[in-house]
């Protein structure tokens, strides 16, 4: 029995076959006291119509419901949780979910169903709440890939810095687009056109360029800070950096100010998690107090979502051993040898040839014994 448990343990440690990832993430979130949150697949469309910008332009799939109500297939989980939460600043709520969200694919290429897991912490958001979620994201990312990074940014820092440029609303919108795209050249054109003070423009320009490990980027970023709003945000990032330095995987924390979400909803720290095997962010999140304020709630909120659709390709890890046999071998003998290896916690594939099988080692079955193939 202990060997079977060891095998199960190892199966989970290796990411299993990809299907186990949600279980492992559920166990992780539960161990931090987050409660599972379930919800209906449908929501009244008005919720999304009123908060369209929160969905970053995603098209919602709608259909007619009972009594002429317009319903939508849920394109986002956070909005539903935020709408229904009873949490207040003094009485918080920590939940996690595993749900599908539905969106129209970009370029009118049909619809997509996205398998998503995430956590939301609603109540009071302090340094501990932020550090805890950073720790959870780092642990989650380490389950997805060996090569991962977590980028952090801060809405207050970006907003505060851009405010110092004294721009009109349309020019400000163009600057935010330049920051998102890391387009220094386009930023330069806006600055020239608007006649912005060169020193201030140079500081924001450098802010756009900065991207790297948090302990390397923050000292340089500190020298660029302008205004009280950006300074307060910077202090929060410094405190987070201090805490992250002691976390497992804390060296994967980066700062990149190109990641920011809609400023009407997000106000604090922002997360984007990346893994080498996937071209876009697999984790997105941040602090969204302003959304709760819009929904008439007296609470702060922080959360993140993981795109599990990025996971299957990652979990095709090689087996430990391929055990080769031929038709003349004893079936009982081959199975017995394979099971002996499995009892040692190895993953074993029994096959006639190695073709198409990814395994760390190959053994040949010969008269009841195993011989390592060179």
């Amino acid at each position: 029995m202990p060997s079977l448990l060891k095998g199960i343990e190892r199966f989970f440690e290796n990411g299993g076959d990809g299907q186990t990832l949600p279980l492992r993430l559920s166990a992780l979130f539960s161990s931090y006291g987050y409660k599972k949150y379930r919800m209906s697949r449908f929501e009244e469309y008005s919720l999304y119509a009123e908060n369209f910008d929160f969905l970053a332009g995603s098209n919602v799939i709608t259909f007619g419901g009972e009594g002429g109500k317009l319903l939508a297939l849920r394109p986002d989980v956070t909005l539903s949780i935020a709408k229904n939460t009873k949490a207040t600043r003094t009485s918080g709520e920590k939940v996690y979910y595993h749900e599908s969200v539905y969106r129209q694919a970009r370029g009118n290429l049909g619809y997509e169903e996205i398998d998503q897991m995430g956590v939301e912490s609603i109540g009071e958001v302090d340094l501990l709440t932020i550090s805890e979620q950073v720790e959870l994201i780092l642990k989650s990312l380490s389950m997805l890939s060996r090569e991962y990074s977590l980028d952090v940014s801060h809405s207050g820092l970006v907003h505060g810095m851009v405010s110092q440029l004294g721009l009109s609303a349309p020019a400000k919108a163009r600057v935010y687009e330049c920051i998102k795209r890391k387009s220094i050249h386009a930023f330069g054109h806006v600055m020239d056109r608007e006649g912005v003070d060169e020193v201030k423009a140079a500081k924001v320009r450098r802010m756009i360029e900065l991207s790297g490990p948090i302990d390397e980027v923050l000292p340089e970023l500190g020298a660029l800070i302008m205004g009280e709003e950006a300074a307060a945000a910077y202090v929060q990032l410094m405190a987070l950096s201090h805490e992250a330095a002691r976390m497992q995987g804390g060296d994967r924390l980066r700062v990149d100010l190109s990641i920011f979400n809609h400023l009407d909803y997000y106000n604090g720290v922002i997360f984007n998690g990346f893994i080498k095997e996937y071209p876009k962010a697999v984790v997105v999140g941040g602090q969204y107090d302003k959304l709760l304020e819009k929904l008439g709630k007296d609470a702060q909120a922080l959360g993140f979502a993981i795109n599990l659709g990025a996971a299957p390709a990652i979990h095709r890890r090689p087996a430990d051993i391929v055990l080769l046999y031929d038709e003349s071998d004893s079936v009982f003998g081959v199975l017995e040898q394979a099971n002996k290896l499995r009892e040692k916690g190895k993953t074993v594939i029994v096959a006639k040839s190695e073709e198409g099988i990814a395994a760390a080692k190959a053994y040949i079955y010969r008269d009841g014994e195993l011989e390592e193939k060179r």
């Binding site: 370029g107 795209r181 387009s183 050249h185 991207s211 990346f274 080498k276 071209p279 876009k280």
Partner: protein, 209 residues
Amino acid sequence: MLNIALPKGRLGEKAYKLLEEIGYRCEEFDSGKRKLIFTDKKNEVSYFWVKPSDVAIYVERGAADVGVVGKDILLEQDPDVYELEDLKMGICRMAVAAKKDFEDDTDKVLRVATKFVNIAKRYYEGMGRQIDVIKLNGSIELAPILGLSDVIVDIVETGSTLKENDLEVKDVIFPVSARLIAGKAAYRFKNEEIGRLLMRVREVLNDKD
């Protein structure tokens, strides 16, 4: 190894020359060949020779780390990539053109022939103008001549094709030039390589200025 997607054609050849100049030479690179991938292990670079409108997709989806693409394609497709530099090559304009004697009747729905459906829609939406978009894939200039459309929205380089067909530019929507783009994950995991490439590109561009 840095994977670079280049657009087939003149722009791709120009972009390769720039990259070759700054140390990303690929011994076997030849745009005339049918081969689509060229690798130079010594210079740690791999080039993919792809259709211009596909460059951004290769980069966005992580098949290439960086790429060279026209601003017209970026504005049409709006890919989720970083637009790191204006390479100041492949310079032209996105313009509205029509027959020389065309007079806009604002009382009617304007028929617009174009390859750039999203750009045309955004442009006329901004003016509050109702349009009928006619999506074409080539020989756009033919549409107003045959009465298929009132105007076209298309790339204009020298304007000679328009002139030969008795058409003229009625409005310039935005200037177009080639951009160096990078994938978001690549920007993180190949940050040093992409940073080095960008620095060298900027040095050459500054020298040319």
